[in-house]
Subunit: 70 residues, 2 copies
């Protein structure tokens, strides 16, 4: 399993986390999503490396901005 | 038509507004709901006066606190 981390800006509450989670878990290959509106951290788990741009696009689809952080 | 206003605390975003709106519009007699997370103002419209306690309970059901303001 691999994980990649992103920093997401604009989330203010648990509903925002849920929106991000719902979009990101639809990205092909994603097997797990952890997200915190308090820290802005988004961790995406997958068996094989996922398309980072697709994750960023999914976060934008939810209405927020993401940047790869680690 | 009558309207009553409440002050709602704890809403941080549009998702929060939506949660409040969904619960409050289920209160018997309610015909319209306006809510802003920015001001915390909740305005409830109805043909006949609605049960204030039911509105407050609906807001609590959504996860926030409300108090009659006008």
């Amino acid at each position: 399993m691999t994980t990649i981390q992103f920093q997401v800006s604009g989330m203010t509450c648990g509903h925002c986390e849920m929106s991000v989670r719902e979009e990101v878990q639809e990205v092909p290959g994603v097997t797990g999503v952890e997200v915190s509106h308090q820290t802005g951290e988004l961790t995406v788990a997958s068996a094989e490396p996922v398309d980072e741009a697709a994750v960023v696009a999914a976060v934008e689809e939810a209405g927020y901005q993401a940047a790869r952080s680690a």
